[in-house]
Assembly symmetry: C2
Homo-oligomer: 453 residues x 2
């Protein structure tokens, strides 16, 4: 428990990465051309005397940009400001994203809005570009004003230390961390049908949906690519990708006031501009949508790997649902059930709790869940045979020994087959929906039950 209690702000106090998480940290990367980044120490929280808490991601040239924001009705100042910036620029001409951790600048009234505007404008000023060219994000305690003059004072340093090295990207990913135990950074190359020999690059960082001590879960993410994409195409690709990635993960079911995922595309790699479907380049659009969705899934899974107190990484796949939305609601309900999550923590093959969550999911269409058509299985990650727990509403005799072995692994896949619901013939028809989630552990309670300090 002590381990949890000292993890009250930012990454572990000494920034040491737990041994079990080392493998998620890249030792090298291929980063998009024309982007430079930095992570700088400000001390947004007075207790943070040395770790970076200001991230700057800047493009040498104007970018297309798109973002998806929290649906929470209490929207933090940076959310309101960034949304307005994107709207007034119609998703074009964005140069940078500036992010602080340590304070969410949420529920801070007019003063908070001014602070967010000032943060962005200071970056614009350093970059020598016109006002309102930067997006702003914050994550941390809510109901407290930013130490705005400290932040403004350090933005020139953040700007002058911009770099494009792997170390700079990693340091920037660290600067947005809060209760995260490791920085979350990925990069990859890809090509597009219109220009198969050209290499494009995509990099992204995110921070955990655990909550900043003490107030708020916040999920932030920034993706950068050197492909050229028109704003409308970028927004629609991002929306598609986020729905299947960041909006299909659950740590604790809470949705923050600050959640934001943004993507910048500066076109530095050349090639044709990717346009929305209907226009000429729709093969490129489809390809890029696939690339970004895969990438966002991989990135969002890192958030689950680092869920507060998490010891398990669980995929729940609801198959053969008569409609996608009902399947998704069932997957989400399983992922949020405290009973399922504590059973997984206890390594208990407790299919009763899974079934129970299927049964009480609200809002699913009539005829979706038919007990005699419902099956539940565990799919081991080692590729060994599926362990059937319930088949068409009838409990299987479970090999508890094997179940126990399967549950020793960090990773598990739960499969719920709805058999097509009322209308479905056995084994055929229907949509699949996937959610990724983690367990509920003692450490989760310790982290989130701490006094504010």
């Amino acid at each position: 428990m002590l381990k949890g209690q000292v993890r009250c702000y930012s990454a572990p106090l000494d920034m040491a990465i737990p041994a079990s998480k080392q493998r998620y940290i890249p030792t090298t990367g291929t980063y998009p051309q024309g982007f430079q980044v930095s992570g700088t120490h400000v001390g947004v929280k007075a207790s943070n005397t040395r770790f970076p808490d200001l991230a700057l991601i800047a493009s040498d040239t104007p970018c297309s940009a798109a973002a998806v924001f929290t649906t929470n009705k209490f929207q933090a100042a940076p959310v309101q400001v960034s949304r307005k910036t994107l709207q007034s620029r119609k998703g074009d001409g964005i140069r940078a994203v500036v992010i602080n951790s340590g304070c969410a600048n949420a529920v801070t009234g007019k003063g908070g809005l001014e602070d967010a505007v000032q943060m962005g404008r200071k970056v614009d000023e350093c970059s020598g570009v016109e006002n309102d060219s930067s997006l702003v994000m914050s994550t941390g305690v809510i109901g407290q004003r930013l130490p705005i003059s400290k932040i403004l004072d350090r933005i020139p340093t953040a700007h002058s230390t911009l770099a494009s090295t792997h170390e700079a990207w990693l340091n920037t990913a660290r600067a947005i961390c809060t209760t995260d135990t490791f920085p979350k950074l990925l990069s990859r190359t890809f090509s597009l049908p219109s220009s198969p020999d050209r290499t494009y690059r995509l990099a992204g960082m995110t921070k955990g949906a655990g909550m900043i001590h003490p107030n708020m879960a916040t999920l932030l993410g920034v993706l950068c690519t050197d492909a050229a994409v028109e704003p409308a195409a970028l927004q629609s690709i991002l929306k598609h990708a986020v729905s299947r990635s960041f909006n299909s993960i659950s740590i604790d079911g809470d949705t923050s006031t600050n959640d934001t995922i943004a993507v910048l595309a500066n076109g530095a790699a050349g090639g044709e501009t990717v346009r929305a479907p209907g226009a000429s380049a729709s093969a490129d659009y489809t390809a890029l949508q696939g690339v970004v969705t895969d990438f966002a899934q991989e990135l969002s899974q890192l958030v689950v790997r680092d869920g507060e107190g998490a010891t398990k990484f669980v995929t729940v796949r609801v198959r053969n649902s008569p409609d996608y939305e009902s399947g998704r609601m069932i997957a989400s309900t399983i992922a949020r059930s405290p009973l399922v999550k504590t059973a997984l923590y206890g390594k208990d093959a407790n299919w009763g709790r899974i079934l129970c969550a299927v049964g009480y999911t609200q809002g699913v269409a009539e005829g979706t869940v038919i007990p005699e058509r419902t099956s539940v299985s565990f799919r081991p990650v080692d590729g060994s045979e599926v362990l059937k727990l319930l088949v068409n509403g009838e409990p299987e005799t479970v090999d508890e020994q094997r179940a126990s072995v399967i549950l020793q692994n960090e990773d598990l896949e739960i499969e719920v087959d709805l058999g097509g619901g009322e209308q479905g013939a056995a084994g055929c028809g229907g949509e699949d929906a996937v959610y990724w989630f983690c367990d509920f552990s003692h450490e989760y309670v310790t982290i989130n039950g701490d006094y504010r300090t």
Copy 2:
């Protein structure tokens, strides 16, 4: 943690009641005339070698009866059987309720249905009444068949030991316990307008919405009165009462396959029969509805007091909502938020998490939550001044010292005022909704993360 781990079945192993819970156990009671009850040891779970796990509640004469069942799509066998019994008898002529703990008889196919029918019929046989005069309930592990012959063998003993003493009622309330740390039993007297000098009696028992180790949260309750009530009136009174009591509490947000609340009315106290509104006795109807609702609230609050691992009893009151249902959804969302629940466990005056839950509540009507009209306060249980945390969307400077003192208490009331939403004038208009809930503690995780044994 050891304390939690040995609490894996039924009440604490030695049935010792924790000192802090002693005050919830009545030392005497006034029980409805013409009812007799017993708690008998069966050993439904082999590990239970001496504690009562079969409850029988019987009336000397036929009763009106009504019940509210789980909305979970996977309905346990006793739920299906009791529902059918009530339907076929049109809520009339019920003589008994028989309940076992230790096995939920859920997801047990046709065999399970037969077991549930047999349990009821064995009681009918012992009582010398016609078949299908008894309601049946079960609570415990799902996916396992009842040890039905053991149960049938012990029903004659349960019947022959029926009694109307306080000790018998308390022992019966114990027999339905699972992870409960204390039996939940209440009784009271009341009068009705049509017969002001006549004394009626109402008694009830319930069991915790903690989950039976290891599989399932189950909430069961039985209310008995010696007033005469026609079945339709009884059903509508129960529905009203349960919506404002058992359906307005949350331990962990999971809804079991077995949840059932039933009420029996045998008319043994004489007087006029209470009929549904529109008929002659509607003053009696209104009075009885008030009595039963108050009683059900008090009884359901005992369930929250004994939530698994609970250290706090929290009332959340959402005031001035434009409509009742939206207010209720917001109250329910706060009550289910792991972030709110862990903050309360940590005695942290974390209004940010409360506000966050208000903001992400799904399904509320447009215009319900207007940040500038939203206020959040703590109302201390000692009657001292309200502690304002947020007023019309602006954070207050919180006296942390006082907040800390308020949060030391087991009891707390959170008040969220929506100010009437978009349409409301400040401080006026709107509906109030109330929920009762408990915190999330380390012990909750321990209890629910245990291996099955």
